[in-house]
């Protein structure tokens, strides 16, 4: 099932349980985002685009995968919008689009032998698409 337009936004709102209508466009989320420079679309744009009913570009962009899930945006949002949950919803929608969603990290990253198991498990959850 391909989700687009208003239907996509409705799905994002359902999954995230985020009240995007509360966003007052202050941008404190983006100002707090440690991955701002890596992202094509920033946390405040996630909120804005989802509330405007046209967020297809967010599904096509890889911005959601630049997020470190540090939750700072949601913590500091004065309106309780929780942009991090919107980002997570996009990751989830993408993963659910296909039955064989997967994540294959480069072999080289394991070379140092020190990587904690938790990192791999987290990456599987966050990067599967």
């Amino acid at each position: 099932m391909e989700c687009k337009g208003e239907a996509l936004c409705a799905e994002v709102i359902r999954i995230s349980a985020s009240d995007v209508g509360k966003c007052m466009r202050c941008g404190k989320c983006s100002a707090s985002c440690p991955s701002y420079d890596e992202m094509e679309y920033h946390p405040h744009e996630f909120a804005y685009m989802v509330s405007s009913g046209d967020a297809d570009a967010l599904l096509e962009s890889d911005s959601a995968y630049k997020c470190v899930s540090c939750l700072t945006c949601s913590e500091r949002c004065p309106c309780g919008v929780a942009p991090s949950r919107l980002v997570e919803a996009f990751r989830i929608i993408k993963a659910r689009e296909r039955s064989n969603a997967a994540f294959a990290p480069e072999r080289s990253v394991f070379d140092d032998g020190e990587i904690p198991g938790q990192a791999l498990v987290s990456a599987f959850r966050k990067f599967s698409k």
Partner: protein, 662 residues
């Protein structure tokens, strides 16, 4: 029966003709008509003519809320000889046409409401209001610009007025400000003459360092106890020479007036222009009061004004009217750890900035970084800190604090005036400038002074070496910004004074969810509280700037003058009445009465066998009773009733509604 169209407000949803027709066949109704605006002169004429022509005993007006026009229709009826309490209002606007969409349902509900009103009216009886006198003296609580202006205006009209101020001097927040927007004139230059005027006006008494202890009574006749806190200095003897403050050995106490940015001594005068200019001893820090050691101030005082044995004093006074002018405080920024206020002294609040630029401030007006007293080359202003927040998050306030946009523009300009080469940034969400010459003022900051306005909230302030790293995002350029600043100024939200809530309880005055005093009507009665005789002035009612505060102070004074100029006040006749035969004297009603209107008396009652027996029963002071109805609800034996709203009348309404409901 008079059914109002209210233009399309009612007629758009309710078939008013059908309502009038249906009511024609209702028992007791002899006349039924509709009109476009029943409250207009011609509408009232229809009512008056019908009362005369049909010799009506009572009327029902189906219209808007009784809060809106009950008084209008009562007056009309009374002008043709009908007792005004024989007028009933059926609210078919707020409670019917405005809340329903379906015409059929709304019409049938309107008919039901009209029937209920008729059922009640049949049980109405004429009421005659009592009268009471008016004490020709007003009390103003709070001695900031709002309180001072209100008091001056009331005094000008020739009435006595007392100001109760909790701190040792009047002047309030405005005394701490440097310049004022949108003219950049000096706050002290326009405020201090008013403070002196207040002190010198023979109609004004100032109780500084005092608080309202208790309030009783009612409009026109309040009795207030004022607690004059011991200042350990005889107010009438002290000359304000300041020698004691110089000699006092305890000098390291953070100054309240300068917001802790410099120190004062244990005996102090808050600032040079204080009114009254009288010293006060801080009992928490004075060695003499704490440990009975020292006594230097007493030795150096040539006037002999120091009195370590002074006690709190209670003064009881009668007032006809009370004005609340308790003002505001900036919120605590404790919950905004991301702005590093606890980590760097160079992150300050806007009010602290005022002290830093004020010539009477801790730096004598030299704008420097608090940490190293150096000139700041880059200054960042952050707006809306704690304003416009989702209240359930418990971090900030839901409302816009209103004054911050303008004072931030002012601060930015002042910075540029002092240091033309400084980089000045203002981070904003919206710049709100609804006021005379306000937008021009803000544009001047941006255009003439070169202040950089950036849309976007600051995310975090990170102290980094001697400077502060300000992380923000420019929402218009879609760019992350990291600005190295020397000084960051946070525009903290404002909230009602912490003393306001306890005062509201004493005054039986209501507050909104944010703790601001509520007005009787947001548009039509903005300076009156819903409690008769209590008026509102300034920021105790909601965030407001100085021009608005002064305007409101004048308006509150006009209302007070209007009240004090009356010789007698007409009371509300819808007061509680006790059926003594049923009263058991249990005291429940007296306990719930917010106005202290109920007392208990011993009375002789006839008992079977021709004898009498003494019994304790409730007695209502009709002059004090405000008709709130608490007692009637609380009374377990059904003895307490509210005139105009007797149980029988309410039950008749309920019956009428139940009979007609589908």
């Amino acid at each position: 029966m008079f059914v109002c169209h209210c233009g399309t407000n009612i007629a758009g949803t309710v078939d008013v003709e059908a309502v009038a027709d249906a009511m024609k066949s209702e028992s007791g109704v002899v006349y039924s008509a509709t009109y476009q605006y029943m409250c207009s002169q011609s509408g009232q004429d229809i009512i008056k003519k019908a009362i005369r022509d049909y010799e009506l005993g009572g009327i029902v007006v189906c219209s808007c809320s009784p809060r809106m026009h009950e008084a209008t229709f009562r007056k009309a009826a009374s002008s043709v000889g009908m007792n005004p309490y024989m007028v009933e209002i059926a609210n078919i606007r707020e409670q019917c046409s405005w809340v329903h969409k379906n015409r059929e349902d709304a019409t049938s509900k309107a008919i039901t409401l009209a029937r209920a009103a008729v059922a009640k009216l049949k049980l109405n009886f004429p009421l005659t209001p009592g009268e009471s006198g008016v004490t020709k003296r007003a009390l103003v609580i709070g001695g900031g610009i709002a309180g001072i202006q209100t008091a001056l205006d009331i005094a000008d009209a020739g009435y006595k007025v007392d100001i109760v101020e909790k701190s040792p001097t009047i002047g309030g927040k405005m005394a701490q400000l440097d310049k004022t927007f949108p003219t950049l004139d000096c706050a002290a230059c326009i405020l201090t003459p008013k403070m002196v005027d207040a002190a010198q006006n023979e109609n004004i008494r100032i109780f500084s360092y005092s608080e309202v202890e208790s309030v009783s009574g009612y409009v026109g006749n309040f009795t207030v106890t004022v607690k004059k806190k011991a200042r350990y200095v005889k107010e009438d003897v002290c000359t304000g020479c300041g020698l004691c403050t110089e000699k006092c050995p305890r000098k390291k106490i953070p100054s309240e007036f300068n917001l802790g940015m410099d120190n004062r001594s244990a005996v102090y005068i808050p600032f040079a222009q204080a009114v009254p200019k009288v010293a006060v001893i801080d009992s928490e820090h004075c060695m003499m009061l704490k440990e009975n050691k020292c006594g230097v101030c007493s030795k150096v005082c040539t006037a002999g004004a120091i009195d370590y044995t002074q006690k709190d004093e209670y003064i009881e006074e009668k007032y006809g009217a009370i004005v609340v002018a308790t003002g505001y405080e900036p919120i605590s920024l404790e919950r905004f750890g991301e702005y590093a206020r606890g980590m760097s002294p160079d992150v300050i609040t806007s009010l602290e900035f005022e002290r830093l630029t004020s010539a009477a401030g801790p730096t004598h007006g030299k704008l420097v970084r608090p940490s190293d007293k150096m000139k700041p080359n880059t200054v960042v202003f952050v707006q809306c800190v704690g304003s416009r927040c989702e209240p359930s998050l418990g971090k900030g306030k839901e409302y816009c604090s209103k004054i911050c946009c303008m004072y931030t523009a002012k601060h930015a300009m002042l910075t540029k005036e002092k240091y033309p080469d400084a980089e000045v940034y203002v981070f904003y969400i919206d710049v709100r400038t609804p006021g005379k010459n306000f937008d021009e003022f803000y544009r001047r900051a941006a255009e003439e002074y070169g202040v950089k306005y950036i849309k976007g909230m600051v995310g975090k302030i990170t102290p980094d070496g001697e400077r502060l790293n300000v992380s923000a995002s420019d929402l218009i350029c879609r760019k992350k910004l990291e600005i190295k600043a020397d000084l960051v100024v946070l525009a903290a939200a404002i909230e009602p004074s912490p003393t306001a809530r306890a005062l509201a309880t004493k005054l039986a005055s209501s507050m909104d969810t944010n703790g601001f005093f509520t007005e009787a009507h947001p548009k039509l009665r903005p300076v009156e509280s819903p409690t008769a005789g209590v008026f509102l002035s300034g920021a105790c009612q909601g965030p407001r700037d100085i021009p608005e505060t002064v305007a409101q102070a004048g308006a509150a004074a006009a209302k007070v003058i209007g009240l004090l100029s009356k010789e007698r006040l007409t009371a509300n006749p819808c007061v509680a009445v006790c059926d003594e035969e049923m009263c058991s004297g249990c005291s429940v009603c007296g306990n719930v009465c917010p106005y202290g209107a109920i007392t208990y008396v011993e009375k002789e009652f006839r008992v079977p066998g021709g004898r009498t027996k003494a019994r304790r029963v409730a007695s209502v002071n009709e002059a004090v009773c405000q008709g709130c109805g608490c007692c009637a609800v609380a009374c377990m034996s059904g003895a307490m009733e509210l005139k105009g709203f007797m149980s029988s009348q309410i039950m008749a309404e309920v019956d009428a509604i139940c009979r007609t409901s589908r």
